[in-house]
């Protein structure tokens, strides 16, 4: 089983997605079982890839079609990609189980296909080593996201999808112009070779090209002015899909942004891009937190909180130091775990109690104790209370950003997270001490086990973060240390 079998990561979801129309006749439940099976298989493959990468220490380079880069397209599954593909697979597996209860609208076979292809898109974006391939996988993720946002076929869902399509369309077109410029000046599309040639490109072209690339990805990674579509999309999408959005779709965009930005670190005008990203990230955190303050709908509130945490990650990644990137990656892991738990529980309440308005949450402590407990742990973790996982990464991010001289930005971020504490604790109060209408709802076993597993994971990272911190450190160096990246990719000596 040599490294090339890692390409199963892409082939498996694809072939199973194409297989779904054949088993359409078996009915909704069978397809959902099939979906869970496939996501479980994908998790297995991802775990195997994770084990090989972390035991050998060397990244797996999947060369499609047998061509060595830059001639063919290569999938660079380094420390970060291995870790995150596993997270993508696990979250999808959990959400597949969650889809049993929460997705009832009719064409479940098409839902299963879109679900698998969303997972595929995110995996592809994280693993690819070629910028045009990155564009293709970004498009796969975005179009599946458009379809899934509008999946509920309500007016709001269609409106949210429309906004996402218009903004996503503009973003990806400019991203393509960026690729055209970079390809026009260098002649290659492979990331490693681009990193080598970055210094020698004509400065104006690389300045315009890089800012266009960053602009395109910033729309996908929900930075401040460009994330206007995100709250609507999160709110209107079916519950499992929202969890997948916030857990890894945004992360893939953020990773791609970080990868591209650090690739061109020798290019001219690089530090301006970093400064712009820092400002946009801080504004994201600020705007998202304040908008979540007086939200009537809990799902939209948690969407805003997820956007602000993403802003925090973007700040960490664009601070420009190794420590910052490592802290950012550690926050990505923590955020993925916490937000999956939050959207899982809020979605489940929305399904069982009918609607995610704040009034449905009052007295939840007695109505659905297990879900309420999981939601409280998730909320406390998101706020950054010690003995929970986000506390560690938030402290490191603040220290890293101050160390790089961004004390004002750190101040704004901390002020914003005070606001975050307020609205989460208001939610906790309504849940445990709000009025109770007396009837208790039975909670399903599988979701309970998933919620408990996530709660235990949060507490485990919170109490003893060492193992996860070493993971995040190696993944962080994988992004930041571009020279090691170039060394790992077996470049063919192409060109004049």
């Amino acid at each position: 089983m040599n490294g090339q079998y890692a390409s199963l990561l892409v082939a498996l979801p694809l072939i199973s997605a194409f297989f779904v129309p054949l088993i359409k006749g078996l009915g909704g439940r069978a397809i959902k079982y099939y979906l869970t099976l496939i996501t479980a298989l994908q998790a297995g493959v991802a775990a195997w890839v994770f084990k090989t990468v972390y035991t050998t220490g060397k990244p797996i380079i999947v060369m499609a079609g047998g061509w060595r880069p830059p001639v063919g397209i290569d999938l660079y599954i380094g420390h970060f990609a291995a870790l995150f593909v596993l997270i993508v697979a696990l979250v999808s597996f959990f959400m597949a189980i969650f889809s049993f209860d929460s997705v009832s609208t009719e064409p479940t076979d098409k839902y299963a296909m879109l679900f698998l292809l969303l997972m595929l898109g995110a995996t592809g974006m994280i693993a690819t080593g070629d910028i045009f391939n990155l564009f293709v996988f970004m498009e796969i993720t975005s179009i599946t996201a458009y379809a899934l946002t509008a999946y509920n076929k309500t007016g709001e869902a269609a409106e949210a999808a429309m906004k996402y399509i218009v903004l996503g369309g503009i973003g990806s077109s400019f991203f393509l112009i960026g690729i055209t410029l970079i390809y026009g000046s260098t002649g290659t599309l492979n990331m490693a070779q681009l990193a080598q040639l970055a210094g020698s490109i004509n400065p104006t072209v690389i300045k315009v090209g890089l800012s266009l690339l960053v602009f395109g990805l910033a729309v996908e990674a929900e930075l401040f002015p460009l994330n206007a579509w995100a709250p609507d999309a999160y709110q209107a999408a079916p519950h499992p899909v929202t969890a997948m959005f916030s857990a890894f779709v945004v992360k893939a965009g953020l990773y791609a942004l970080a990868r591209l930005v650090y690739l061109f670190s020798h290019a001219a005008g690089w530090d301006f891009i970093l400064k712009l990203l820092v400002i946009m990230a801080t504004l994201t955190v600020f705007a998202a937190e304040f908008s979540a303050l007086r939200q009537r709908d809990v799902k939209r509130m948690i969407a805003y909180s997820s956007i602000s945490q993403v802003g925090l990650i973007a700040l960490a990644l664009s601070v420009g130091s190794q420590l910052g990137v490592q802290a950012g990656v550690f926050h990505m892991i923590n955020h993925a775990v916490v937000k999956t738990l939050l959207f899982l529980t809020v979605g489940y309440v929305g399904v069982k109690v009918g609607g995610t308005g704040i009034e449905n949450f009052s007295g939840l402590g007695r109505k659905m104790p297990l879900t309420a407990f999981a939601l409280t742990v998730g909320a406390l973790a998101a706020v950054g209370i010690p003995l929970f996982n986000i506390f560690w990464s938030k402290v490191w991010i603040i220290i890293a950003s101050i160390e790089q001289g961004y004390a004002w930005e750190a101040g704004v971020v901390l002020a914003a997270s005070v606001v975050e504490a307020v609205y989460y604790l208001r939610l906790i109060h309504t849940m445990w001490f709000g009025g109770w209408d007396g009837m208790r709802i039975r909670e399903s076993l599988p979701l309970g086990t998933i919620a408990l597993f996530l709660v235990l994971l949060i507490l485990a990272i919170g109490v003893y973060p060492n193992p996860f911190w070493t993971l995040a450190k190696s993944a962080g160096t994988d992004i930041f240390n571009v020279s090691r990246y170039i060394a790992n990719v077996p470049l063919m000596g192409v060109g004049p």
């Binding site: 082939a11 079609g65 595929l120 379809a147």
Partner: protein
């Protein structure tokens, strides 16, 4: 009043952005030979893939992953449109029957358009065009039938499984490549079996490019006609 202000503001912003992009493009002068990887492709396309048409060789063989992704994109589009416009019971929205000329013409032309479409995607590695244009022409054949007849609908029970099968076929070809040549999407026909090395430039050459292109052609044809069908039908409200 506001719209005039808005329009002028938009024009000014776009001029500045245009100027900025133009400045970037000026760095990439038109028509110069800046090929790096392109030159490698042109020199070894015949030897390594057996295809005459360098573009299709790149599309299917060298950068096969892109095409795989891109086939998925189209698949997502058709599933998405199907999911969004899904109704329990649907019927055609067309009210008026096509004119006599259209009806008889379409009946006559239908088989020839199909044949022309298959010609395009079978000769993908020789002549310009390939799976996608071929599939599109096939879809236009069905489109004409939709325009001509009020109650015509594509045979869904046949097309959807066909679409799935074609997609699976493509991935299977890739997986066989993984099994035999230990690389995903490896052209085992050309690289290991060396079929069709002799008749370069004729039909049976170009490794697994024709096979993939036929699969893509079928897939694109069925998908696009599926999209056309969902757009041209509406819900039956009891």
């Amino acid at each position: 009043m506001v719209s005039v202000l808005k329009r002028s503001l938009a024009i000014i912003t776009l001029l500045i952005i245009g100027y900025w992009l133009a400045q970037g493009l000026a760095g990439v002068p038109f028509g110069q030979d800046r090929m790096l990887v392109g030159k490698y492709y042109l020199e070894n396309v015949k030897a390594q893939t057996g295809a005459v048409n360098a573009v299709t060789a790149i599309v299917v063989n060298y950068r096969g992953f892109d095409t795989l992704g891109e086939v998925t994109v189209l698949f997502i589009a058709s599933t998405g449109v199907g999911a969004l416009l899904w109704r329990r019971k649907k019927r055609r929205t067309a009210k008026t029957e096509g004119s006599v000329v259209l009806r008889t013409g379409s009946e006559l032309l239908f088989p020839f358009i199909l044949m022309f479409g298959t010609y395009i995607f079978i000769h993908g590695h020789l002549t310009p065009g390939g799976g996608f244009p071929g599939g599109a022409t096939i879809a236009t054949a069905f489109l004409i039938l939709y325009m001509a007849f009020v109650d015509y609908e594509i045979p869904h029970r046949l097309f959807e499984p066909l679409e799935g099968l074609a997609g699976m076929g493509y991935v299977l070809v890739g997986l066989i490549g993984l099994a035999i040549g230990s690389y995903f999407l490896f052209d085992w026909i050309w690289q290991t079996w060396h079929w069709g090395a002799a008749n370069l430039g004729r039909l049976f050459s170009g490794g697994f490019i024709p096979i993939i292109y036929t699969l893509i052609g079928l897939k694109v044809g069925t998908e696009l006609s599926g999209i056309v069908d969902s757009m041209l039908t509406e819900e039956v409200r009891e």
